[in-house]
């Protein structure tokens, strides 16, 4: 694809996704695709397709389904481009390519990357994969054993693979890459194993590593230089990635980049979060622990940081900062602002000026007992001292718990309703800290926890958030945490899945339930919408329960131990009775 076509496609997507109410007429070639896990660089997960609407969704029916041959959590978004749908399964990450032009949607090719089975031991939160990225005829994806692969999207032939780390050190990869111009951007996982987090840029044509930026350590390693202009004074200084740690602790300090990436072509800035500091036990790492549990803006060509902001300095509860940043333009205080919306695990939804890193607002979207909001002058989170974890003492009612008010599950933005749709959970925890040693390739946590829903609350919530009005427009509740992503469409629908196996559509303006379909296993995947090339709008999702919340089923855990799955099992003892394992692709359309 020429640069011109690429730019035009981006502009079209931008217009469709952000500025104008899209119409079905925009479902021209390309506009009906879903080329990256988040649909577009801005991370909106908004489809401009409007054939399926609030008026007709009740007649939505299954078009086809296909087994993934797996029994772990299926968290990937199907990718649609060039008349093909690409699915990356959970471990061993088989890639399936379906020919959307053929009437029976036949499997055009499949590819087995043959990752090392040993890597399964360092997957903190099930052996998941969050999906591939398509660009210029190539399909890029990561494997659990720290490899990035490029395939020829037409044939499934391997073009290159690059190993970025050794799983024996605790490092893994589950994230969905993002392609910016000629670079594939990827990051590692493994905060729970005491890795050192990084984001890397690989040459899309060859796989050569172009740059790597660590989340901890000296400025040169973090790629902090003359371009670095953080908004708040506490983020200015030399080698803060070393100075805010006990000696040498930054080398095993976490801060992985396993979450979502987004990109603003106008500012030419890439946005990513960083994971929580290691070990989880905060008593062992006094200091702000920069740059963990933070947001970064970087120039994609060389990775230089433009600004950074810590959402949870000295993260006490494993909140992490790697959730999505959705790039939108909004009138804030009467002025049009280029902002990013970042629903953090700490329970606050941040509206941040994405050019400068200034926090414009940070409002709690869930029950928070651990903090009292952001100080507007300093940008610092005002932590509640009584919730500081302590060695050999149980601290109770930590809300949100270590899974966050929201975990990995990505939100969707509709430019039509101007609401952000957050799938999330309502879970507190009781926790105690203990001293932990770093043994490479084993968990480096030092926390024991048991999660529970606050009294009277449902465990799963879908919140429609108005970032301009700084309030909830509506919410709906589910018995289990909503661990799936959300999809918003121009038909004014929001789709999501539940862990007990329902795929649902609700009215984007009111949250009213309009349609549901029973899947064979619980849903923790990311729904998408695409144009099939046959005049039909399709909606697709992977079912297959798992992920951290679903480990109790996917790893067959023993529910008599509430601390199992780092405390998640205490809140999920009824899940095994509600669903069972098995990955399956479901695709729907109107009759």
């Amino acid at each position: 694809m020429s640069t011109h076509v690429q730019v035009m496609r981006y502009v079209r997507r931008l217009i469709a996704g952000v500025f104008l109410p899209a119409t079905a007429a925009m479902a021209a070639s390309g506009a009906g695709d879903w080329p990256t896990a988040a649909h577009d660089d801005a991370g909106t997960r908004f489809s401009p397709l409007a054939q399926i609407t609030t008026a007709n969704v009740a007649t939505l029916r299954l078009s086809w389904s296909f087994s993934t041959s797996t029994d772990k959590g299926e968290e990937a978004a199907p990718i649609v481009a060039d008349g093909t749908m690409f699915v990356v399964t959970s471990f061993p990450h088989r890639v399936l390519a379906f020919d959307l032009a053929s009437p029976e949607h036949r499997l055009r090719w499949s590819f087995d990357p043959r990752p090392d089975p040993g890597a399964r031991g360092v997957a903190c939160c099930d052996v998941v994969n969050r999906g591939a990225a398509y660009a210029d005829g190539r399909l890029f994806f990561c494997t659990l054993d720290d490899q990035v692969l490029a395939l020829d999207a037409r044939t499934g032939k391997e073009l290159w693979r690059r190993k970025l780390g050794d799983y024996a050190t605790g490092q893994s990869m589950t994230m969905a890459p993002l392609v910016v111009r000629d670079k594939v951007l990827v990051g590692n996982d493994g905060d729970a194993f005491g890795v050192r987090g990084f984001i890397a840029a690989l040459d899309a044509a060859t796989g050569q590593e172009r740059w790597r930026a660590y989340s901890t350590g000296p400025d040169a390693d973090v790629r902090i230089g003359s371009a670095f202009k953080p908004f708040y004074a506490s983020d200015r200084g030399t080698d803060l990635g070393v100075a805010t740690w006990p000696p040498e602790a930054w080398k095993i300090g976490g801060g992985s980049v396993g979450g979502w990436l987004s990109y603003d072509a106008q500012l030419d800035l890439l946005y990513h979060g960083t994971g929580s500091p290691a070990p989880g036990n905060p008593v062992q790492r006094p200091g702000a622990n920069k740059w963990t549990s933070a947001l970064f803006a970087r120039h994609p060509d060389a990775g230089d940081a433009a600004w950074a902001y810590q959402t949870s300095p000295h993260d006490r509860h494993g909140y992490d900062g790697s959730n999505e940043s959705v790039l939108v333009d909004l009138p804030i205080g009467g002025q049009p602002r280029h902002v990013l919306l970042h629903p953090d695990r700490n329970g606050y939804l941040y509206v941040i000026d994405r050019a400068t890193g200034e926090v414009l607002s940070a409002d709690a979207y869930a029950l928070v007992t651990t903090a009292h909001g952001v100080d507007p002058a300093t940008g610092a989170m005002r932590s509640e001292p009584s919730k500081e974890p302590a060695i050999d003492r149980v601290v109770r009612e930590i809300c949100p718990g270590s899974a966050g008010a929201k975990n990995w599950q990505p939100s969707a933005w509709s430019p039509r309703t101007r609401l952000l749709y957050l799938p999330h959970q309502n879970l507190c925890e009781d926790a105690t800290a203990f001293e932990v040693s770093h043994i490479g390739g084993t968990p480096y946590i030092g926390m024991e926890a048991k999660m529970h829903a606050p009294p009277g609350a449902w465990r799963g919530v879908l919140t429609a958030w108005d970032p301009v009005g700084r309030r909830k427009a509506w919410t709906l509740e589910e018995p289990f945490p909503i661990w799936s992503g959300a999809l918003a469409t121009a038909g004014d629908l929001v789709f999501y899945g539940t862990m007990d196996g329902w795929f649902k559509a609700v009215d984007a303006r009111t949250g009213r339930a309009l349609w549901k379909f029973r899947t064979a296993s619980g849903i923790v995947g990311q729904p998408i919408a695409f144009s099939g090339g046959d005049g039909h709008e399709y909606v697709a999702v992977l079912a297959g329960v798992g992920g951290w919340a679903g480990l109790v089923v996917s790893n067959d855990l023993d529910t008599r131990d509430g601390t199992a799955a780092r405390g998640f099992v205490a809140a999920m003892k009824d899940l095994p009775a509600a669903t069972s394992r098995g990955g399956m692709l479901y695709v729907f359309r109107l009759p």
Binding site: P117, G121, L551, L557, D558, D561, A564, V569
Partner: protein
């Protein structure tokens, strides 16, 4: 300088030394076991009979030599401490599992005999269990193996730990019952 002792003298001296060695071994008291065995596999192999016999027979002898005693409360209590210190908790929790399989249920992917559990700890397993050889002293690995068996009630309940110093996740080890009838004591 010339040697006072001719070659025959040296040989005779060495022979006397060698004949004295078994005597020294009989009297030896080892209060500090070798913290990390050079290679326990080779020693275990040396004890293994190639004749048909009960599975893991060599390892049973090896377990006894390594101080394995699941009837001993001290061994189990030590095992419980090391289980946490060596980060077993991070994956297996208090037996309920997590990224690793549960250890308190009836399922044993790689076997439940003390030798099986010891081998799993020391050599690792191909689906994610790391090898702790060289990182855990052998005696402590046997103690952990005994404690791991207590998680599913396979050891005498009067020896199994009965309280936790941390957050109570699962019932105390001494109240756990084996899930299979043949494991009941």
């Amino acid at each position: 300088m010339s040697f006072a002792c001719p070659r025959t003298c040296v040989v005779a001296g060495l022979a006397a030394l060698v004949s004295a060695l078994p005597g020294c071994e009989r009297e030896a008291r080892r209060f500090d076991p070798v913290p990390i065995a050079p290679d326990a596999r080779s020693r275990a192999d040396a004890l293994t009979s190639f004749a048909a016999g009960p599975p893991g027979r060599g390892m049973t002898e090896r377990a006894a030599a390594g101080g394995y005693d699941e009837r001993n409360a001290y061994v189990l209590a030590q095992g419980k401490r090391y289980y946490r210190w060596f980060n077993c908790t991070g994956c297996h929790a208090q037996g309920g599992g997590g990224s690793g399989p549960p250890l308190m249920d009836a399922g044993w992917i790689y076997g439940k005999t003390p030798g099986d559990v010891f081998t799993t700890i020391m050599d690792g397993r191909p689906n994610g269990m790391p090898a702790f050889r060289g990182r855990i002293p052998e005696e402590q690995a046997w103690q952990i193996a005994a404690y791991v068996r207590s998680l599913s009630g396979l050891v005498p309940d009067d020896a199994a730990p009965n309280r936790d110093d941390s957050l109570l996740g699962a019932p105390p080890e001494n109240l756990r019952e084996p899930a299979r009838p043949e494991d009941k004591r």
